[in-house]
Amino acid sequence: MSHEHGADMACIDLVELVTDYLEDALGPEQRELFEAHMSTCDGCRVYVEQIRETRDRLGRVPPDRAGGLPPVARQELLDAFRAENPH
């Protein structure tokens, strides 16, 4: 449970700073407040973990679902490349 909130960051504000935290874009003071809050708040710890997991799951979506270019199109590009670089 979330107890012991002193002069710290509120959960409602912390959730907006998670990506800044993960990207190391927080100033030193905010970072300290962020980490101090997480150490006493289960809800926020879970939330940050889930944003991390979301990022990692996104990283496992195959980027090439749509596929690349068909061979015909690639051949056309090769021809254009050759035409630009006559040897």
Binding site: E16, C41, V46, T54, L58, P63
Partner: protein, 225 residues
């Protein structure tokens, strides 16, 4: 498939940047075909976020490569080749999207959701709560995601949930999430390709991730199938 590499995005980086540029400028067709094969799937996905059909997206990719071919001689190397190629693509796709007057549901969401809270405020106590202002309520507190070993979330199912959530993102968030988290581009590269400030990029990334997280949360809570 070519069988050239396992990682479709990063493969040409086994050439150094200088080496790749030198090869392309000297007319090395193998090197050219290799970057076309490697980057085109990502480019096509990227273009698809702007234009209304897959065929149109494919044409954007072809046009972008023609732009690369024409521009190679004058390319100044201020960014990487990949950043430059994707920037050409984005410009072509945007121009084409305007021409197509694209007003599909996907892009009509684009202007929305760039301010305001990313988590439903009703999940927190009010800011003037006398005891614990702005903290999670017991009902609002996020629950750890646990997979029931019986009915268990299949990784394929989760991938579909994530993919669908990405497709449903407002366009600007989707562009950033696709480049950063799906394709693994660095933040500076994404800022350059999309013409964003570092801060703006982080805001869009965060809003996008928060929405995808919410979709996963709903899935784990059994609200979607």
């Amino acid at each position: 498939m070519s069988g050239l590499a396992d990682d479709p995005v990063r493969a040409p980086e086994s050439y150094t940047e200088d080496d790749l540029l030198r090869r392309l400028r000297s007319g090395d067709e193998q090197a050219f075909d290799r970057v076309v094969r490697t980057w085109s799937p990502s480019m096509r996905r990227m273009a698809r976020g702007f234009v209304s059909t897959d065929a149109s997206a494919q044409e954007c990719v072809q046009d972008a490569w023609l732009g690369v071919i024409k521009g190679l001689a004058s390319f100044e190397g201020r960014s990487t080749l990949r950043t430059w190629a994707f920037r050409i693509l984005v410009n072509i796709a945007k121009t084409r999207a305007v021409r197509e007057h694209r007003t599909t549901p996907l892009s009509s969401l684009a202007a929305e959701d760039e301010t305001g809270p990313t988590v439903d405020p009703s999940r927190f106590r009010p800011r003037d709560d006398p005891e614990r202002p702005g903290t999670w309520t017991s009902a609002g507190e996020p629950r750890p995601w646990e997979t029931d070993p019986e009915t268990g979330a299949l990784s394929g199912e989760l991938r579909d949930v994530v993919s669908a959530a990405v497709e449903a993102l407002p366009a600007r968030q989707r562009e950033v999430v696709v480049l950063r988290d799906i394709q693994g581009f660095g933040s500076e590269e994404v800022c350059e390709i999309l013409g964003l400030t570092a801060q703006n990029q982080r805001v869009l990334l965060h809003r996008g991730r928060a929405r995808v997280r919410a979709a996963l949360e709903a899935y784990y809570a059994g609200e979607s199938t």
